[in-house]
């Protein structure tokens, strides 16, 4: 591939190859203070669906070790998003070392808080806002649990902020670095936040999980205990590799479910959510 970029995010190395220079330059700038892997775990490729689409209405097809042949290409202006989607896709389809849960993770006092939910539950936004309040950012998309130790490994890729969350987080973190505004993507407007230097510096330090939250946005503030069996089933469905890990996945999940308290929280706005979360954390 013409243009190549490599990066290690937490314990996972990627190489991204691209027909175009722009997405690689953006990645290099945004991931400037991350280390490089020796041999990457996964390869991502950004290329035109047809040769002429390199130049005429250029559109980016996402490929790699693991790929979805029918996925729609993105316009070149969204090449950075394509790269991030490609890296996520490798994790979702190919990760076999860690139990992977769709969750954002932040750390305080050497313990991790996991927030699991579908897209739109606010897990990226909440993790970014908590990082502005002294929590260590460990990841906004995937929680990686080592089946051998039960510890959570950080995967602090760029934080993907969508629509209204862009302004909320820009106001909360006025000194942070952001990527370009990507307007009109499949998920609306997207802007990437660069995790702060401390998140990257500490990314090789795994921590034990201490609290598991299932946030829901758009309701009166409320919280409830989640029964163990419901936590178990929800997390199997929040994981893309639970079944593929076999007994190691079962052990890791059973340990998490049995030892870490879980709450569902409803929140009407992010200020309220942050208060609810920090109150629950203090009561641990």
């Amino acid at each position: 591939m013409r243009h190549v970029f490599s990066v290690r995010i937490g314990p996972v190395g990627f190489r991204v190859g691209s027909t175009w220079r722009t997405p690689i330059e953006q990645l290099e700038a945004l991931y400037a203070n991350y280390p490089r892997p020796e041999v990457p775990d996964f390869s991502v490729r950004l290329f035109p669906a047809r040769p002429w689409r390199q130049f005429i209405r250029p559109s980016v097809t996402i490929g790699g070790d693991f790929m979805l042949p029918d996925a729609l290409p993105l316009p070149l202006a969204q090449g950075l998003l394509a790269a991030e989607m490609g890296m996520n896709l490798q994790m979702a389809l190919g990760q076999r070392r860690y139990l992977l849960l769709h969750a954002s993770v932040v750390e305080r006092d050497g313990k991790a808080l996991l927030m699991s939910g579908i897209s739109g539950a606010g897990k990226s936004t909440l993790s970014a806002l908590l990082s502005a309040r002294g929590w260590r950012f460990m990841g906004d998309e995937f929680a990686l649990i080592d089946p051998e130790t039960g510890l959570l490994h950080a995967f602090p890729r760029l934080v993907s902020l969508k629509n209204a969350a862009i302004d909320v987080v820009t106001n909360a973190l006025p000194d942070a670095r952001f990527g370009p505004l990507l307007a009109g993507t499949p998920k609306g407007d997207i802007r990437h936040l660069v995790p702060d230097a401390s998140a990257v510096a500490a990314m090789d330090t795994p921590v034990p999980p201490a609290l598991l939250l299932f946030p829901s946005y758009g309701f009166e503030a409320d919280e409830r205990l989640v029964p163990l069996s419901e936590v178990f089933v929800r997390l199997t469905q929040a994981s893309t590799n639970y079944v593929a890990l076999g007994e190691r996945g079962f052990d890791a999940l059973a340990r998490l479910v049995k030892t870490v308290p879980a709450r569902a929280i409803d929140y009407p706005d992010t200020d309220s959510a942050v208060k609810q979360i920090e109150k629950l954390w203090a009561a641990l």
Partner: protein, 332 residues
């Protein structure tokens, strides 16, 4: 050897002589892993390299691949067991084909091998009873469109694929090893009669027939997709069982040429080499057409084999009808 070649030959040389990998630099390893993933043979590679002193990143990637393949085999063998349970009341043994047979019998060809669908061979006269028993045990039609369904039933060597409603796993029920449209008709009755037991209620083809099937699959039923893995199977089978009686057996099934070629290609890729024909070189060019990102290369060669595969499967008039129907189904 890092950086010198990065096409399918890189993979072949390491599979043949694992020690060859020790000279790879980071770029060489990266290419090797990408190519092995693209050929769906990374688990085999990982088990070949097990025990060697590897760079840390590589060791972790291959450990994961090994664990993943092992878990894949558990799931594949469970499908075998559930099919056995479903067919036991019929008094019909499950005769395994391809990957699940190698895993069930503990063959070298099965070590680290990825296994997809469950492929079984049943007597043609029993196919309706087998179909009914599988439907009763939770398998369902994938619900293809009526044209595909009729096509399968009339012309193919298998039932339309079934998927299990709870386990999301597919089973292909074959009554011979080549489509009825192919110009070659292997002796399916004899395949079943010569099958060997690998466990209670579970059988597989005799070793020579397994090699014949691999060759049939590679040359008469496909466009060489997955060919590197298929020939690795052949290489391991020959290594483990030898070739005594293979020529006669291949001739009996009408596949002498194909079997001879697959032996030469397997030897060229993974063994001690062979005296190759000019045609063999074209095959090898197609088989190893990957770049250091695992991308398919040599598009013209690939296209030639794709067209050829359809040609081999169907008489020309049927091919035209098939392509016409497929074309009409396109949206634009």
């Amino acid at each position: 050897m890092g950086g010198v070649v990065s096409d399918g030959w890189l993979l072949a040389r390491v599979l043949r002589t694992p020690g060859n990998a020790l000279g790879l630099d980071a770029a060489g390893w990266t290419a090797l892993i990408a190519i092995a993933r693209a050929e769906q043979i990374i688990g085999t590679l990982a088990s070949r390299l097990d025990g060697l002193k590897l760079p840390g990143d590589v060791a972790r990637i291959l450990d994961d691949a090994r664990a993943s393949a092992a878990q894949g085999q558990v799931a594949a063998l469970w499908e075998v067991e559930m099919a056995r349970r479903a067919l036991a009341p019929l008094g019909e043994a499950v005769v395994l084909l391809k990957g699940s047979a190698f895993a069930a019998a503990g063959l070298r060809a099965g070590e680290g091998r990825s296994i997809g669908d469950l492929d079984i061979l049943v007597p043609r006269a029993r196919i309706d009873a087998v179909e009914a028993a599988l439907l009763a045990a939770g398998w369902e039609w994938v619900k293809p469109n009526p044209y595909d369904d009729a096509y399968y039933r009339q012309w193919m060597h298998e039932l339309p694929p079934l998927i299990h409603r709870d386990r999301d796993r597919m089973i292909d029920v074959h009554h011979t090893i080549l489509p009825l449209t192919a110009r070659i008709t292997p002796d399916a009755v004899s395949l079943l009669a010569s099958s060997v037991a690998v466990g209670p209620g579970v059988r597989m083809l005799a070793p020579n027939d397994v090699i014949v099937h691999a060759a049939a699959h590679l040359f008469a039923d496909g466009d060489l997709a997955g060919g590197m893995r298929n020939l690795w199977d052949v290489h391991c089978l020959v290594d483990q069982f030898g070739t005594t009686g293979l020529d006669q057996r291949a001739a009996h099934h009408g596949l002498a040429k194909e079997v001879a070629r697959s032996l030469r290609l397997a030897a060229a890729l993974y063994g001690d080499g062979a005296k190759l024909t000019p045609g063999d070189h074209v095959y090898l060019r197609r088989l190893t057409a990957r770049d250091s990102w695992g991308r398919p290369t040599r598009q013209v060669t690939r296209l030639g084999f794709y067209v050829r595969s359809h040609w081999l499967r169907m008489p020309p008039s049927m091919l035209a009808k098939h392509l016409w129907t497929k074309w009409r189904a396109k949206p634009d």
